[in-house]
């Protein structure tokens, strides 16, 4: 079972790839505004990469409710648990 902390680690890797910056460090409270290049376009690319990596789908409403990386990790964990 993959927990939220592990998900966060994977998300950090993904963010480094998507935003092409190996210095990115993600915490639960990190939000798009904290990462250069993480605009609305980048946000979709990041979410798509996360969806593909974890094999989950986010509904538009879930996507819109996300405030920070912690929310995303929690959402993904919940979806993985629901399997």
């Amino acid at each position: 079972m993959i927990d939220e902390a592990a998900i966060l680690t994977v998300l950090e890797e993904l963010a480094r790839d998507v935003f092409d910056d190996d210095t990115i460090a993600l915490g639960r409270e990190t939000s798009a505004a904290d990462v250069p290049g993480w605009d609305s376009q980048g946000n979709i690319m990041f979410i798509v990469a996360a969806e593909q990596r974890f094999g989950v789908r986010l509904k538009p409403a879930e996507f819109e409710r996300l405030r920070n990386v912690g929310d995303l990790a929690e959402l993904i964990a919940g979806k993985l648990q629901g399997r």
């Binding site: 993904l14 790839d17 998507v18 609305s40 979709i44 690319m45 538009p60």
Partner: protein
């Protein structure tokens, strides 16, 4: 699954991309980056490559950095995209795909939805950019106002005419205002069906509108010299559970193309840009053994290779040959590069009856025991083309790897295990994207078995006789020769329906039968104006004690069902009667053995003018016999020309 299946996979693409960062020399770094871009890559890796590409191209140390036309061996080309939907996520993939086509693409994206203003009124920023190509990336709602579903055909026609007229004005703006060539993205069908299949019968249904608009745009583009980007046909619709058009992405950010499909979208655009710049590939270099036929001709011999009708595998090879022939017909140069004895390899081209490609189709034929990169270089010299306009097809992964390493300019697609997928892979790779097609491109015109065309002729011919005449059928008849044995035995062991006796024979049995001087062993090929139908019939006959000398019993008569209803039986009978008479026979004896599956030929012999006779004692139960007196017979008429071959 992968969206770029023709590109080889890299063991550690992420690591290799990271490695680019540590390379100091910009030229070296760019060369390494171009090599990585030639690997299968997802949208994330493609985006990372694009970022490094931007840094490389901005580096003043790069050879040709200040030049307008070329940089580090790449042709510079400027592409402006005028979109009605979000395309920013696609731009990196376009630039990276350009690298594989010898292009350094500079891409600008116009303001979303302002394409009319830019082209009809003018846009100083676009003018300053001075595009070579302008891609109009519009979705259906931007091209055509929604029509009431009940709109009459004439209203739909008029609306489509107006929409296409407006596009043509935009294309004129691209040319006149910016001196660029227009590329129109065809509409991508994204609306779920309203009526089901019946959509196509409702002129104003979204599905019918998209179809008709695309057709009309194609016709207008052809007249105006515009190019089109046909995403619906060139991009897969889904991959790995992921859809090309994802309504979630559309709702989130008006993304017409789902981000995971960006790399293949980029490919489709880059290949059009390459075609417009004259950088499409020109030559297809083909291996032979297990690429154009199954088996190794040096070991298996011309009779032993698997090719053509009779086995699924053989048909798959013939189909790939037909695809290559189609490319040749549109002007792609074909060459052969094979580790083989040249005489042995050429013999297949000259005398294997199922070969679709012939020696005359091959502009340069190199079969020897030297290494393939050297041979490919020689082919390029002979044809006076660059290796960077060649595509090399080989089933052997080791040969592919060697050619990739020695000649990085040659495109070497990864191929599926099974030849059945070769044509689709070569097509998906888009090496030969065209920007024009005129009569001069036709090296020669070749027509292949096209049942649809035959059916079209049947529709226009006023009657059946006229149809049969118009087919210009020629029946090539010959005694079964060693080279025919495999295919004839396959037919003997596979045919169930048009098979009078269903006597099965091994290849060896057939060889023995054919060699018996007292027997007739004949095979038939049918050629018509649409092409070669291949070996379609086998007749075996010999004297039989039960009927006495001078009477030939038709031991086997079978034909391929695909030539039914074309009077081929009558033509075959004409030939058998001739051959039997030449042997001094006075009569033919026909036998029908019901097998449970061959009811369609129960009336075969009486239909050809044979008269019933009593079955001899001790025959197969249920068998019926007929006789045709050769001296008195009036043979049934047909419209097929008989050709006797040795």
């Amino acid at each position: 699954m992968s969206l770029l299946p023709w590109l080889p996979r890299h063991d550690d693409l992420g690591g290799a991309i990271r490695g680019l960062r540590s390379m100091a020399d910009p030229s070296e770094r760019l060369a390494a980056l171009i090599a990585l871009a030639g690997h299968d890559r997802d949208a994330t890796a493609t985006g990372r490559l694009d970022r490094i590409l931007g840094e490389c191209l901005a580096s003043p140390g790069l050879e040709g950095a200040g030049e307008a036309s070329a940089v580090a061996g790449l042709r510079r080309l400027r592409l402006a995209i005028l979109p009605s939907h979000t395309v920013d996520h696609l731009v990196p993939a376009i630039r990276v795909a350009g690298l594989g086509r010898g292009l350094a693409l500079e891409v600008t994206v116009g303001t979303y939805g302002l394409h009319r203003q830019a082209l009809l009124v003018g846009d100083p920023a676009l003018e300053a950019f001075a595009p070579d190509l302008v891609l109009l990336a519009l979705d259906a709602t931007a091209v055509l106002p929604r029509l009431p579903l009940a709109s009459a055909e004439s209203e739909v026609e008029a609306a489509i005419g107006r929409a296409v007229g407006e596009l043509r004005q935009l294309w004129r703006g691209v040319r006149d205002r910016y001196g660029a060539r227009p590329v129109q993205q065809l509409l991508l069908p994204t609306s779920p069906s309203l009526f089901g299949s019946f959509d196509r019968l409702v002129p104003a249904s979204p599905a019918a509108l998209v179809d008709r608009l695309n057709l009309a745009i194609g016709a207008a583009a052809r007249e105006d010299g515009a190019l089109v980007l046909d995403l619906a046909s060139q991009m897969p619709e889904r991959d790995d559970g992921c859809e090309r058009f994802d309504p979630v992405r559309w709702h989130q950010g008006k993304l017409l193309i789902n981000p995971p499909f960006a790399p293949v979208y980029g490919e489709c655009v880059a290949r059009i840009a390459a075609a417009a710049a004259g950088l499409s590939r020109k030559c297809l270099v083909l291996d032979l053994d297990n690429t154009l036929w199954g088996g190794v001709i040096g070991d298996d011999g011309i009779e032993g290779i698997r090719l053509g009708q009779g086995s699924a595998e053989g048909e798959a090879y013939a189909a790939f040959q037909a695809y290559a022939a189609g490319l040749a017909e549109r002007g792609v140069i074909l060459a052969v590069c094979s580790k083989n004895d040249e005489a042995v390899a050429r013999a297949a081209f000259d005398s294997h009856p199922e070969m679709v490609l012939r020696s005359s189709d091959v502009a340069c034929f190199r079969a020897n025991w030297e290494d393939k990169p050297g041979n490919i270089r020689r082919i390029a010299e002979t044809l006076r083309i660059g290796v960077d306009s060649m595509v090399f097809i080989d089933d052997n992964p080791a040969e592919r790897a060697i050619v990739r390493r020695e000649l990085p300019g040659v495109a070497v697609p990864e191929l599926p295990d099974d030849v059945s997928g070769y044509a689709a892979t070569v097509a998906a790779a888009g090496y030969f994207e065209a920007a024009m097609f005129t009569a001069e491109d036709l090296v020669r015109v070749r027509s292949y078995a096209a049942d649809a065309e035959r059916a079209a002729v049947l529709n226009t011919a006023t009657d059946m006789e006229g149809f049969l005449r118009s087919l210009e059928m020629r029946l090539a008849a010959r005694p079964i020769a060693p080279v025919d044995l495999t295919r004839a035995a396959q037919l003997i062991n596979k045919s169930n329906q048009f098979n009078l006796t269903t006597v099965r024979r091994s290849e060896e049995d057939l060889r023995v039968f054919a060699q018996d001087p007292g027997s007739l062993a004949l095979c038939y090929r049918l050629v018509d104006r649409f092409g070669d139908n291949g070996l379609i019939g086998v007749v075996l006959a010999r004297e039989d004690e039960a009927f006495g000398p001078g009477q030939l019993l038709l031991d086997t008569w079978l034909m391929s069902c695909r030539v039914l209803g074309r009077q081929v039986e009558a033509a075959v009978l004409g030939h058998v009667a001739q051959a039997a008479a030449a042997r001094g026979a006075s009569a033919l004896i026909g036998e029908y053995r019901p097998s449970g599956r061959n009811g369609m030929v129960a009336e075969h012999y009486p239909g050809l003018g044979f008269v019933p006779i009593a079955p001899p004692a001790g025959v197969h139960s249920g068998a019926c016999f007929w006789r045709l007196d050769l001296a008195a017979a009036s043979l049934p008429p047909h419209h097929i020309q008989l050709e006797l071959t040795a």
